[in-house]
Structure formats: C-alpha cells, structure tokens
C-alpha cells in the first residue's frame, strides 16, 4: 500500500505541533528564558532569523516528534488586553514571574484566572519563578508559589535564565504534558476533530507497524 499525504503530509510517523504562549509582566525574563532554551540547541532549518518573539524548537521525546512554536507576548500592563489574540489556540502557557517581584506573581495569578476562564483545562499551565540566581532577594515564597500552582492545576518551576537552570526541564515537562493532553483528546474525541489546535495539525497517523512495501511497480509513476 502506498499512501500519499493529502494535506499535512505527516504520513510517516507522528509529529505533534504545539503552540506555547509566554505570558508575564515585562522585565521578568520571559524572552531570556526562551532565548536561552532555543539558542543552545537551535538547529532549525527555518529561515527564522527574526528571533526573540517567535521561536520554534523541534524535539524528539521518546520517539514522539514535537514541533514547538513559542509565542512571546508583550508583558506591560498596557498590553494586557491584547492577550487573547496571542493565547488563543495555545496548547500550553508559560507564566513567568520574577521571584524578587511580588507584583509580577500577582500578574501571573491574573493570567491563570483569565486562561482558565477562556481556555478551560485544555491548556497546560506552567508557572515559572525566574531569576533564582537572585535567591537572596526573593520576595515570593516557594511554599506560596507551589501551593498556588497546585491549587489551579498548574506545575511550578524554578529557573534562572542567566545560569541556564531549570529551563530544559521546564520545556521537556511541558511537552510531555501536552502530548498526554493531546492523546487524551484524541481518544476521547475519536473521529471528531474540533478541539482547538488539533484541527489545524493536518493528518496525523500513528505509525504503529512497519509500512507495507508498496507493490505498485510504476502504478503511480509520474510521466
């Protein structure tokens, strides 16, 4: 049997495409975080030279290929209202605060509320306390942050973009959770394909057996 992709062309194996939105007050280090994550092993064939605001990353997690698109947002309060047009259709959100800035943690709480209200449980939330290199100036207690995260069904991470700490784990973990969510969705929805995000992923086939060799000697050969 020979199969030709009609749309997405992802006939061989499986590739997940996830959109992750990066939210948080200005100056908490959202951009550095993602730059650090992507620049280390940034080996993308895209012509993406714009950098910084939109980044992609390709991962292979236990044989599952993941294409990650990371959307940075402007964090200043005056831009808050623009949030929805960025986070719509996201599979995951990374909510970053600065551990030395109590206020930025408050902003994270606002985002959590808004995201849960707008996107429900479909979206995987990560709450990230950044700048742990400035532990001495910490103003947000670990205890408080972690219990808050738990209470809203989010995961909490400690990172330092400066020292490149905790960042790999954060994204890896998020990807695994998004894969799980996607699998649950797929199982639950069966043929339906109307969940946000997934609808645009094109054809996805689980390659769970070796593809039968095409017997089509020339049956589809082009002229």
């Amino acid at each position: 049997m020979a199969a030709g992709g009609g749309g997405g062309g992802a006939a061989a194996g499986r590739a997940y495409s996830f959109k992750v939105v990066l939210l948080g007050e200005g100056c908490v280090g959202k951009t550095s975080l993602v730059l650090r994550y992507c620049e280390n092993k940034f080996n993308d064939k895209h012509i993406t030279t714009l950098q910084a605001s939109f980044l992609t990353k390709k991962l292979n997690i236990g044989g599952k290929r993941v294409n990650l698109a990371i959307w940075d947002t402007a964090g200043q309060e005056r831009f808050h209202a623009l949030g929805p047009i960025y986070y719509r259709d996201s599979n995951g959100a990374i909510l970053v605060y600065d551990i030395t800035d109590e206020d930025s943690f408050q902003k994270v709480k606002n985002w959590v509320k808004e995201l849960r209200k707008m996107l429900g449980n479909e979206i995987c939330l990560c709450i990230v306390g950044n700048k742990i290199d400035l532990e001495k100036e910490r103003h947000v207690s670990i205890q408080e942050a972690e219990s808050y995260a738990e209470s809203v069904g989010a995961k909490h991470y400690h990172t330092s973009a400066k020292q490149n700490k905790g960042i790999e784990e954060l994204f890896l973990d998020l990807c695994k959770r998004m894969i799980e969510t996607a699998q649950v969705d797929e199982r639950a929805k069966g043929n339906g394909s109307s969940q946000p995000g997934a609808a645009r992923r094109g054809v996805q086939i689980i390659d769970d057996e070796p593809q039968a060799q095409s017997g089509g000697g020339g049956c589809c050969s082009s002229g």
């Binding site: 009609g6 062309g9 200005g26 910084a52 698109a69 623009l82 645009r200 992923r201 054809v203 769970d208």
Partner: protein
C-alpha cells in the same frame, strides 16, 4: 460502508410512487416555449448528426432536461427499466427507497458484472451535495452531475447524457425533449447510435471535426489529455504518455487515433477484474477503475491539436506573475521564460517542447491553472463558480467562504496532481496554494479590497485607526510607554517600502512574506537600540511606533484579508505570529483615540479581531486537510487510488480498516 444495494433492490423494489416530494430543483425549471423544435429522430440535423450545440453548455443541457434525468418519482425498478437499453454512462437520479436522499443510477458496461446499473447515494450537507464515499462536494445537483460527466472520481465511468440531449443544438430542442419527462426514455427521440452499418459514415465525418467542436461535452469519448504536458500533441508523445499512465488509459474508450464520440461505446474494453470474487458488484467495480479523476480535458480531446492555453492561462502561469509575489527577495529579477501564448503559431511546437522541460513546479502550476480554468472539471467548476459568485455581490463572511473554497479546491487539485509525484507533497501543496491565489485571489482582490474598505469605513474602524495613528505620531514613543527611540529615517523608509509592497500584493502568503521582511528590518533596528535580548516587550511598541509613522491605515484591511485568506496551517507559524502582532498593534493604535478604554477593556478593534477569529475556527475544524490519497495495486486489475478522509490522530489500524471498507478487496 453500506453498498447502495440497488442491483439487488431492483427486482423486488416495489413501486412506491407515493413517497415523493418534488425537489426544489424542479421549481427552477425554465419557462417553456410553446413552440418546440423536435430534433430529428435520427439525430441527423442539417449540419450532420454530430453537429454540436455550440451555444448550449452542458450545464444548460442538464438544467433544461431535468424532467428527463431527475426522476424523483421513479423507484429502483423503474430506473433499471429506463436505463436497460441505454449506453454505458447514461444515468438518472431518483429518490432512494430506503433513505431520505437521492440516488444516482448509472448504466454500467455490459461486461462489468451481474448488474448493469450502479447506484450512488447523493448526500446533502450544508456545504453542498456529494456522492457517498466521495470527497468531492458540489454546490448543487446539477453541478455534481456536470462534474461527473467529465470526471469519474468514484464512478466506474463518466456520466453521459442521452445522445439526443447531447446533440440537441438549441434550447427549443432540449425543451421538446424535456417536455417528455420520463417518457423520453422510451420515446423515438431517444435514439442510440448503434455501432452498425448505419453509423459507418459517421467515422469519416468525425475525423474532420475541429477541436472546438469536441469541446461541447459530447461525453463518452473524451480522450485522455495530460494537463502536465499541455503541448503533448503527436502520437509519439501520446504513446509515451500512455505508457506512463497506462493504468489510466486502459479504461478509456478511445485510443489516440480512434474517433471520439461514438456513443455508445460497444462494451468498453475494461480490464476484467476477477468476477468470481465479486458479489455486490457495482461499488467494487468502481474500486477497480484504474484512473483518477479529471484528466480528460475536453478542449484537448481528439486526434487533432489541442488548443494551446489561452492568453489568460498563460498569463496566470507566466513567470512574471509568479515571481511578482512568489519570492519577495527576487523581485526585479528578469523574466526568464517566454510568454508562450503570445508567440506566433509557428513557434508553438517549440513552445510546447519547451513547456515539457519546465521545472516540475511550473508544470504543476500550469496543470493546476488549466484545471481551474476549465469549467468541465470539478475543480474548474468550483473555482469559476466562486469567481462568479463573489463578483455577483458581497455576502456576509465572504472571505471565510472563499478560504473554504480555496481549501476545497486545493484538496481536489492535490488529489488530482499529487499522484503524479512531480513534487514532494509539501512542495506540491505550496505550489497549488500559490496557483489558487493567482487564479482566484488575483482577479478578486480589487473587489474584495473595495468591499473591505467600504465595510471598515462604514463601521468607523478605519477612522478610528487613522485618528489613533495621528495621536501616536503626535505623542511619539511615549504613547506606548516605550523608552525606545525612533528608528532612523532610512530604516523607517525601508520598512515603509515593505509595507507598501504588502498593500500591493494579492496573495496573502506573499503579503505575509512582506510583513516578515518588514519585521526583520525592525528587529535589526531594535537590536542596535535594545540589545540582543529584545523580545515582544520591545517589539510590539516599536512596531506600533513605526506603523504610526508610516501612516498606512489600509493595513487594517490587509490584516483582515490575510487572517481570513491565509491557509489555516500558516496561522500558527511565524507568519501567523507576526500577523497577530500586526493585528495587536493596529488594535492598540485604534484604541489610542479612545484612551479611556485602555488598559483594562479590549478596544473595539480588538474585539472585532477576536470575533473574526472565533468565526474562523469553525470552517478550520472542518478543514479539508485530512485527506489521504491511497493507491492500491491489484495484480489482476492494476492500480486503484482513492482519496480518503482521515481524521487527525487516526492510527494505522483505523486507516487499514478504512481502506478495507473503501476498497472492499478480499
């Protein structure tokens, strides 16, 4: 999938004349002229038996003769009876006995199995009508029939109108036929060209027909024409073509040199497909059909020269127009190929030879354009109808409708051209998308832009943005709380030039490329001011400042145009991100005029953008991207391919099952 069990249903299908409601189609029946010209029973008009009704299109023929082929009162038995003596391909539409839908009954060649009629349920959905198990959706029944007169898709052979209808030259003749209704089938008007001595003289006459005459939808003998090689003329080339496409050609009723249009073809030479395996024949037979749809381009049929692509078509494929937007970086590069259509005839064959040497992308582009410009193909019908419809007048959410049609047309083209494997699948999709933009959006762009402008002026959005832009210029960077300084005038002018290019482009993907180039310039400027780590925190204010300086309120139109018409898959990529940023920036600028609403409530502009997106999600989830072309090689009967709808996340097991159902092979 349930086999439409009509072959079996025929014998014991009780006459059920009661279960009938006149379809809405009947109400459209054209007003009848009381003066009928009755076509000569022998089909022998003054101009000869094959005189094609040049002024009457296939669609008109179908519309006018609905009372003949649309037999909603007929049951399976009546349909069988009517089609019993008809040539293969003859069809009628009746109501299903068992389901609330119509059934297309098609006369099969004698050799094709126990039953001589195959039946196909016609499904109605909000998007239109389609044959069960086919992916092709049409706006209405007539369009569907039209398409299947030229493309088999899941049918064993293309549909064919009765000879008298095909040959009728005037509306009056057709009306005379139409007047008979079901009686037509048994009337003396329903003549069949029997292959016999009486038809002998037909052949020489046929040979002298011009290609234009062949263009009249005379049906069965449409010969095979490879759109990928528009210049494919002589027997030698055709032979080559035949070998490369042998699986297709074998079901064709005409060889390159055989005369076209001798209905009915005396039992077409079908590859006999192990009849012993088959119990419920018609659908399985269909699966053994060997070709994909639509390579028969009527205009190119017959032994004589196929017409060269029209000027219009050539224009559409000309390098100048494809480079104009295809690769923004390469603008201004010299036109590298001749504009074939403008060459004198002597050079045509050279041009044709040249064509076949063109890069595969160009070939695919040309083939796609040819299909789209040919109303006789399903996709051509879709595209041409779309053009007509949009030109006819504005409709609510029309951009979404257009995007949907584009996606559908692309799926059809992809199913059509994909199997040629001239290009890798992703590249193919890209080329097809571009080709669609050229054939659809290029001609429509002025109309659509004017309508958008009118709408956005009327609801105050454009005025609001213009005011916001003015305020932002007056306030400078602090309007956005940004400490950034303005980019230099040179940088500003460079960005402005890119944005002006964006305004001039018709293709949303080209527009997005211009946008990306503008953004890239901005990043370069940003880095000198804000360092390497600058992200969205800095970029959004900078973009807004620059947009204010450039003062191009028309970008509001373009943001909507792009968001609606860009292929949905791109909306989550980099293009989508910067398009979102553009929309965000425009919303921000628009809200400056209504300063009190920020920062806590979204501006009117933002809400508009969001609600547009909400609407967009619907068609996107029904996207036609989940189509998979599967080819199956059967040692006894060659290769069959089908386009299957595969839901996202389907497993191989599901796919296997789907194939098993669709192909029904032991």
């Amino acid at each position: 999938m349930e086999t439409p069990g009509e072959p079996g249903a025929g014998p014991f299908g009780a006459p059920s004349l009661t279960s009938f409601a006149p379809g809405h189609l009947e109400s459209e029946k054209p007003a009848q002229d009381p003066l009928y010209d009755v076509p000569d029973a022998g089909g022998g008009q003054a101009g000869g038996p094959q005189r094609p009704g040049r002024t009457v299109s296939l669609r008109e023929r179908l519309l006018l003769t609905r009372p003949v082929w649309l037999q909603l009162r007929a049951n399976a038995a009546a349909a069988l009876h009517a089609l019993r003596t008809e040539p293969p391909g003859t069809f009628l539409v009746r109501k299903s006995n068992t389901r609330q839908c119509q059934v297309l009954c098609v006369r099969l060649p004698e050799a094709s199995g126990p039953s001589f009629v195959s039946s196909h349920y016609i499904q109605e959905s909000p998007g239109g009508v389609s044959l069960e198990s086919s992916e092709l959706v049409f706006r209405d029944l007539v369009q569907l029939i039209c398409a299947y007169c030229h493309a088999r898709d899941i049918l064993l052979l293309p549909l064919q109108l009765p000879r008298a209808i095909r040959l009728a030259a005037t509306h009056k003749e057709l009306e005379a036929i139409s007047h008979l209704g079901i009686e037509f089938w048994s009337s003396s008007l329903n003549t069949k060209a029997q292959p016999g001595p009486s038809d002998g003289p037909l052949l020489p006459r046929l040979k002298s027909r011009s290609p234009q005459e062949l263009d009249q939808g005379t049906g069965a003998a449409l010969c095979f024409f490879n759109p990928l090689f528009p210049g494919d003329l002589g027997p030698t080339k055709r032979e080559k073509f035949k070998t490369s496409f042998k699986v297709r050609v074998s079901t064709e009723t005409s060889s390159p040199l055989s005369p076209p249009a001798v209905p009915p073809p005396p039992v077409p030479v079908l590859p006999r497909a192990a009849p012993n395996q088959t119990e419920r024949l018609p659908p399985r037979q269909l699966l053994r059909r060997e070709s994909s749809v639509g390579y028969r381009v009527p205009g190119g049929a017959g032994p004589s020269l196929p017409p060269l692509p029209s000027l219009q078509e050539v224009d559409c494929c000309s390098p100048s127009s494809s480079e104009e937007e295809g690769a923004p970086g390469s603008q201004g590069s010299p036109v590298t190929s001749p504009r074939l259509g403008r060459r004198p005839p002597l050079l045509r064959s050279m041009s044709a030879a040249f064509c076949s040497l063109l890069a595969p992308e160009r070939q695919v582009g040309r083939a796609a354009a040819a299909l789209m410009h040919d109303r006789h193909t399903a996709v051509g019908q879709l595209v041409q109808d779309l053009l007509t419809q949009v030109r006819a007048g504005p409709e609510p959410r029309e951009l979404q409708g257009i995007r949907e049609a584009l996606s559908r047309a692309r799926a059809m083209l992809s199913a059509e051209l994909g199997p040629e494997k001239l290009l890798p699948p992703e590249r193919l999709e890209c080329v097809l998308e571009k080709s669609l933009h050229r054939s659809v959006l290029k001609p429509l762009r002025p109309i659509l832009a004017a309508r958008l402008r009118r709408r956005l002026s009327a609801n105050g959005s454009l005025g609001c943005l213009a005011e916001g832009l003015r305020l932002a210029r007056a306030q400078g960077p602090r309007a956005f709380g940004s400490h950034l300084s303005l980019p230099s005038p040179v940088e500003m002018e460079q960005v402005r030039q890119k944005l002006l290019q964006l305004l001039r482009a018709y293709s949303p993907s080209a527009q997005v490329k211009w946008l990306l180039q503008a953004c890239k310039l901005l990043y370069t400027a940003l880095r000198t001011h804000a360092g390497e780590g600058a992200g969205a925190d800095e970029f959004l204010p900078l973009l807004s400042i620059v947009l204010a300086q450039c003062n191009l309120p028309e970008l509001l139109l373009e943001a909507e145009y792009m968001s609606e018409l860009l292929e949905p898959a791109l909306l989550t990529g980099e293009g989508g991100y910067y398009l979102t940023t553009l929309s965000a920036s425009l919303a921000l600028l628009s809200s400056l005029g209504q300063a009190h609403t920020l920062p806590l409530s979204p501006s009117q502009e933002l809400q508009r953008s969001l609600s547009l997106w909400e609407q967009r999600r619907l068609p996107a989830s029904h996207s036609f991207q989940h189509l998979l072309r599967v080819a199956y090689q059967d040692p006894s009967s060659g290769c069959t391919s089908k386009t299957l709808a595969v839901p996202p996340g389907a497993s191989i097991a599901t796919l296997n099952q789907l194939c098993a159902t669709k192909f029904r092979e032991g």
